[in-house]
Subunit: 343 residues, 4 copies
């Protein structure tokens, strides 16, 4: 097979580093372009000290729309929210596949986006053309998409945990309570005061952006789509003293009185063809089950005393919640087995 020519815009970020690692070992990809706005021509290894792939002599490219359009089949945009859309605007056409890792195209309702991200969207028309890259749910749309809005880390684990229940209308969509804990890598590699310095995060637990996290409208939009009904969530994200991984603990009120094993069946049926989703009947997953993988592990408990259901999901925030899912989406778009280069 002819290899896919791939590139990355914004090569210095933490996620870009991991994406480089994955794409270098992907058997059907040639990664021929990695740019940096602020550090062109500097050696890549200086920004990604721990990469295992051989990039000793590689340097960051200067951004070049011409090069991208002329040579690439797919471009990953790894720029921050609000900036990413500028590159998408510049690069979008019908011939190249764009996978945007930022939040700029995830929220279809432009007003919501503008409120939560506190900025004007510069290319709202493209939001409609983009496809939300939740690989297991929007598989068919992803295959045909030109522009993927790759999901956020919290949304990925939460949406996958709730999809089978909301689709089947078996929980009360007004009563969803989510507590999420993330490893510190979720805060990126630029210093964030009080959050990702060792002395702040080590041996500590911190709740942050309570009622104000920009993933809230993203989660609600797709939950509402699943339920065909307006869904609101109660959500508190935390950061704690681990490197990677997200642990989601979700309380729900069932609409139907079902046994625990009946709930499991909905999940198993819903995800039966999904290589990256494991439904755990035996025990509740831990983040160590999924760290360094593209898996989302899900389990649940029926609380027979209260009649409520508790669902658990774990992912690696950087992989299934970031670049792993992005590559999974690329695989879908280029008709490759979805796990190519990801096992």
């Amino acid at each position: 097979m002819k290899k896919i020519n791939a590139g990355i815009v914004g090569g210095t970020s933490l996620l870009a580093g991991l994406l480089i690692e994955i794409l270098y070992t992907h058997p059907y990809v040639d990664l021929i372009y990695i740019d940096s706005e602020h550090h062109p021509n500097e050696p890549i290894y200086k920004f990604h000290r721990f990469l295992k792939c051989d990039i000793k002599n590689k340097k960051f490219d200067n951004y070049s729309k011409e090069f991208v359009h002329k040579n690439l089949d797919v471009i990953f945009i790894a720029k921050p929210h609000r900036i990413s859309m500028k590159y998408v605007k510049d690069l979008y056409n019908e011939k190249i596949k764009i996978i945007d890792l930022s939040g700029d195209f995830r929220i279809k309702n432009v007003k919501e986006y503008e409120k939560w991200y506190n900025t004007k969207h510069i290319i709202p028309d493209l939001i409609k053309k983009s496809v939300y890259g939740l690989s297991e749910v929007y598989t068919e749309k992803i295959k045909k998409a030109n522009l993927i809005a790759n999901p956020g880390c919290y949304p990925t684990g939460i949406l996958l945990a709730l999809y089978p229940l909301l689709k089947n209308r078996i929980i009360d969509s007004k009563s969803i309570f989510i507590v999420s804990y993330s490893g510190v890598s979720g805060a990126g590699k630029n210093p964030v005061p009080g959050k990702n310095l060792f002395i702040d995060a080590f041996n500590n637990i911190i709740a942050y952006k309570v009622t104000a996290h920009q993933h809230i409208p993203e989660i609600e939009e797709y939950l509402s789509e699943f339920a065909e009904n307006r869904v609101m969530i109660n959500f508190v994200p935390h950061i704690t003293s681990v490197e990677d991984g997200i642990f989601n603990t979700i309380f729900l009120k069932p609409e139907k009185s079902l046994a625990e094993k009946e709930f499991f069946k909905f999940y198993e049926e819903c995800y039966k063809n999904c290589k990256f989703i494991k439904i755990n009947r035996e025990r509740i997953p831990e983040i160590k089950d999924v760290v360094d993988t593209n898996f989302c592990n899900i389990s649940l408990k029926m609380d027979i005393r209260t009649g409520n259901l508790i669902v658990f999901s774990v992912i690696d925030n950087r992989i299934k919640g970031g670049v792993g899912q992005a590559v999974q989406n690329m695989n879908l778009m280029f008709d490759l087995p979805e796990d190519t280069g990801l096992m």
Copy 2:
């Protein structure tokens, strides 16, 4: 002032070690008895390597009812659940103060105790005579008690977080969703497979005893007492890669529509005379705020989108959730300022 003669039954446990440290530096206590059932006459420092107080030449005593009754004013029982009650049975009389750190006397409903602890209670009559040692709530009763059932770690942080709301009937007592994360010291110092080995707990997040934790009936009993109404909770405890501390995240439905600052006022009013409770208006507390102290820090957020209230509380599980509160209760029982020896 004449010093209090104090002793400890069960000196080898993790909590006993910390209790030794606190009592040694308490200005009005002589700690003259520390026994061990399995290691009498062995040096204490062998079991508590990191104690800072000078116990170099101290050895564990043999258990002696006679010595305790003849010489002590107060005895702390630091034995495991189910075993503790045997010592309380043997030692109880009207002259000595007993502070029991186990769960054996916390649940007033014997049947509930026997169900959750899976054992027969050997001295149910004493349960009624015991006082639940939640220092800030049952202060007056504690002062007069002979037998204190010292609260569990999760119950302490959760009950203090919910007391002002339930007492004032301003939340729906049917809709309480609690996610708690504890440091690994909560699992004690004996190996528990899959939980407190370094390779299991480091860099990991684990949910455990979901719907089955023995602190559930303890929490519900006192919440019901606060609310004068049967309260049930939804509760998931987790363990993560930190040493000490508990972080509680609690979702609630207000019964009255109040502004955030109104809720704060209830807390400030309720705890205005409590030295060990801090109500944080400026920011949500982190476990580093309270680790190594007897404080319980509380904050809250009104989610104006959903109309729900989110309450946060943090404690050090070993101190306010264990031996710190036990010493606070001793201070109350002996008419000392409640923070003596605890600052």
Copy 3:
């Protein structure tokens, strides 16, 4: 190519788990036998919770000499020191390749072995027939061996760091000072009081087995072989609050006055064909450079003030210092590229 039929004796250990993971994904291996003495017929996943390979339905075999001899091309022995030799004695013949992960065949001088391991060696004749599996140094011997004594974790990183210097006689072999720090996984997964419980090792640094570590005679034996001269080392191992990896810091007195870059050349020349050794001129390696890989990274600094040389080496104790090197040796024995299944 016909696949290699491989097996593991002693499947429950921490190293065995990682070996299972590697052999399952090795393109030329069929792992058809994994036994357990104490847990035959029990599901493997119960002992290796975090394995990513699919072993859901696999159970531990009963030990069977007949099966091993009839069906396997290679058997890995993952039993503890002192026990391993019993299995080697039982299984050794000219037709099967044995790779022993224990210390039982590493020390050629039986008396030294018996002194440091405090046991009688039951099959000293086989020690002479075994080959020490330091892949980069004894490559040719390994290719022809039937019995490999796979190196210990500390010896691997230290021997690779010193080989080019001692072979070329450019340092004083009487003046070698080594400080090593290991992650806690080096202590295995059975509880070791004071060492691998979370509350002991987290946030702590511990020196252990000072002047008494059983890797000392192993290191000295091969250093002496390199130098063709009796070499003694000064060595202190420590354990600290990281999962995996060993960091070696070695002080040496050069016999010749050479510039830093001259020393580097000896290393680069010596290891020029070695895929798993990286000589770092730019910066001193960190354990994060090698964790989860089979690499040994080496760097050095000439202290021009004192005239002494400081050499640094890092490995993953479980991989290059354990099962990774074992598989590298298997590759050599079966004429495969040495990195097959290890990248």
Copy 4:
């Protein structure tokens, strides 16, 4: 007793925060001045989130020489190297006691200072008037000093470990090999790329400033003074995944052939009146033994195979290696028991 009026120049640093905590609870100190050059009039708690003392309403002062001279008995300078001397120059007179936490006055040889700190010293005359604040060694001089150069963290633990040996001329002063590991708090609270971000330091080991650390000339100067002879050291500092504490592992060649217990006697004799030094015969200290205390614990092992001596010392880098020792020095200067406010 009349209280000591104390102040701090440079109140925002990590060390300043801990100094505030200690001075607030010191029974004979009134801390009446804490300035900040860049953040005057801002609330202190914003820069020291985890302080347990009550500083809720305190704000940083503007630097005022007049106030300091008029009101204070002692001033602690907590400014960075190279800047600290400007404040000492401005504030020095015969009436106020100055305790400088920086490296600016520790090295008596101005040329050495200027070489290692890469700056011109602006007030070399004061270097001679200053006293090096190694409390246990220079006790008498400290009592009479007006200007204390408070020792660095590495020097404190290393000098205390070597003092009894060099003073008694029982080791070869040409053969000293030191490996030190520090917790991440040693890197302060401002982001240092590659060093004190969580994602860099967590689960990692890093050697840094090899042959170039500015503590080398400080250590050598005082070792030379102890030995009355020019001493040079081989020294490698590392940082690892713990919060606080320094672990020093030191190889030495004895000049006399003495048994282990004889070496212990030198230490016990030398430090017999020192409250903050513990000589451990039973076991090698761990950093958990001293973290959060002003203790320096020391132990040793004779390697009878090699004839070399291995000495271990541990301190809390922030306390005995920083502000704890500074307060100990203040106690000496004001004729208080040396442990006042430090237990």
